[in-house]
């Protein structure tokens, strides 16, 4: 069983116009840079993108927005992006805003084979509109549906030829839950090793959830808010 493919172009080869994608990352941290570049090059259109954020103007999903490839964004926070704002106000782009925990849990639900989950987030707000409210032990919860995605595209730190993944620090974020949520899951990793080199107890995403894996290159890993303590 070898899930290794050559590169990002091969990974995204059969992503078609109109499909729904999950894209890992929080802000610009832990995003699948290589696959985004390949998708931009491929020019696939009318995509629905489930991703916590929408990148910045010239990086991350922002690049796909520049190419007018995105029909709809499903996110929890979409600031920091002027082109996004322009397309939204002009009606070119549709956006569905979802509480961050609800977004993560709806992805996870897919990977756990749970069709729906209950969360109190959004009760009594416009997020609750049209949704079933249910009371358990005196507290109201919304029923939220699991997400379906044609492809999930995630970025990990290390991976092996069987698709097992290990993430680094807070670059983990949405990647593991999205890796579980795709009908087909693509993982790009900084370092790809042979099966058997990773400690089985340290795997964050078991390979059963991953269909294609490749070692990415030229990671920029741009920092969105560089905050530092001056050297004393």
């Amino acid at each position: 069983m070898n899930k290794v493919i050559k590169n990002a172009e091969e990974a995204v080869r059969d992503i078609e116009d109109g499909m729904t994608l999950m894209l890992g990352g929080f802000g610009l941290c832990g995003i699948p840079e290589n696959c985004i570049t390949a998708l931009v090059k491929k020019g696939t259109k009318n995509l629905t993108c489930i991703s916590n954020n929408a990148g910045v103007d010239d990086f991350g999903i922002g690049l796909m927005l520049q190419g007018k490839q995105v029909k709809k964004m499903i996110s929890s926070y979409v600031g920091e992006n002027a082109e996004f704002e322009r397309q939204l106000l002009s009606g070119e782009l549709e956006v569905e805003l979802i509480p961050q925990g609800t977004l993560a849990t709806r992805c996870m639900a897919a990977g756990y084979g749970m069709p729906a989950i209950f969360t109190p987030a959004g009760v009594g707000t416009e997020v609750a509109e049209g949704k079933e409210v249910r009371n358990f032990n005196g507290k109201d919860y919304l029923m939220e549906m699991a997400f379906e995605a044609d492809f999930a595209i995630v970025k990990a730190w290390k991976g092996d030829t069987m698709g097992n993944l290990i993430y680094k620090s807070t670059a983990r974020n949405f990647n593991p839950v999205m890796a579980m949520g795709g009908k087909i899951t693509i993982a790009e990793v900084e370092e790809l090793v042979p099966a058997g080199e990773l400690d089985p107890d340290q795997i964050h995403t078991p390979g059963i959830y991953v269909h294609r894996i490749f070692q990415g290159s030229n990671y920029e890993k741009r920092i969105e808010q560089r905050t530092v303590t001056p050297k004393s």
Binding site: C29, P99, Q100, A104, T105, T125, I223
Partner: protein, 217 residues
């Protein structure tokens, strides 16, 4: 009257030893600077970290290590990382003892609005709706009066809600309030602020029981 750092300093006195705390963006972030010596807390960042430390020393920043405000940070000994679902799982399960966040408006029954202004570009609620719906103990750090001189402690919020019936305490430039039984209960005045000034700056129901002392920072 308190400035932003004053508000943060006052809120820091609410933090107890051993607490797990989530700090929102803005004034809440400043609270970390004022936690008293001898009080040990663990900061949760909802992008997937327990044990957040200060900003890294210049040159040591790591693009893979950021907080929920997307700032480069560090970790402290005993920290742990996890995915976004578990992060909000522990929030939802009430394991985070205290949430401190900003607000545009709070109503007398504890509703909060802090994510959307009709007619303006909406950036999204991020994790705020999850936090306010789940946390056991929510303290709001905010300016009580907007730049037009209008109160933001209201009978009912005018802006779209983030959560209902959830705010427990508010610290503003003018005072400290407990929110219960459908009213803002004044607990303390900010230095140099009179009860009259507070009354003028509060549109929702205000309860003032007995003498209200000035806060000690």
């Amino acid at each position: 009257m308190l400035d932003k750092n004053g508000i943060a300093k006052r809120i820091a006195k609410e933090v107890q030893d051993g607490m797990y705390v989530n700090l929102g963006i803005g004034i809440p972030t400043l609270v970390a600077n004022y936690i008293p010596d001898g009080i040990s807390v663990v900061l949760q960042s909802e992008n997937g970290l327990l044990g957040m430390g200060p900003f890294p020393i210049d040159g040591q920043e790591d693009a893979d290590l950021i907080n929920a405000g997307k700032q480069t940070i560090t970790t402290l000994p005993g920290s742990s990382t996890f995915d976004s679902a578990l992060s909000f799982g522990m929030i939802r399960a009430g394991k985070v003892d205290l949430t401190i966040l900003g607000a545009m408006e709070v109503s007398e029954n504890g509703d909060i609005a802090n994510w959307k202004i009709p007619g303006k570009m909406v950036k999204g609620m991020g994790g705020a709706m999850d936090l306010v719906a789940s946390a056991q103990n929510i303290i709001v750090a905010m300016q009580q009066v907007n730049k037009h001189g209008e109160s933001k402690l209201l009978k009912a919020c005018s802006l779209p809600l983030t959560g209902v019936n959830c705010v427990k305490k508010i610290v503003t430039e003018l005072g400290v309030y407990e929110v219960k039984d459908g009213a803002f209960h004044l607990l303390e005045r900010a230095p140099g602020v009179s009860v009259e000034e507070i009354k003028k700056a509060t549109l929702g129901k205000l309860v003032i029981a007995g003498d209200i002392s000035e806060m000690i920072l």
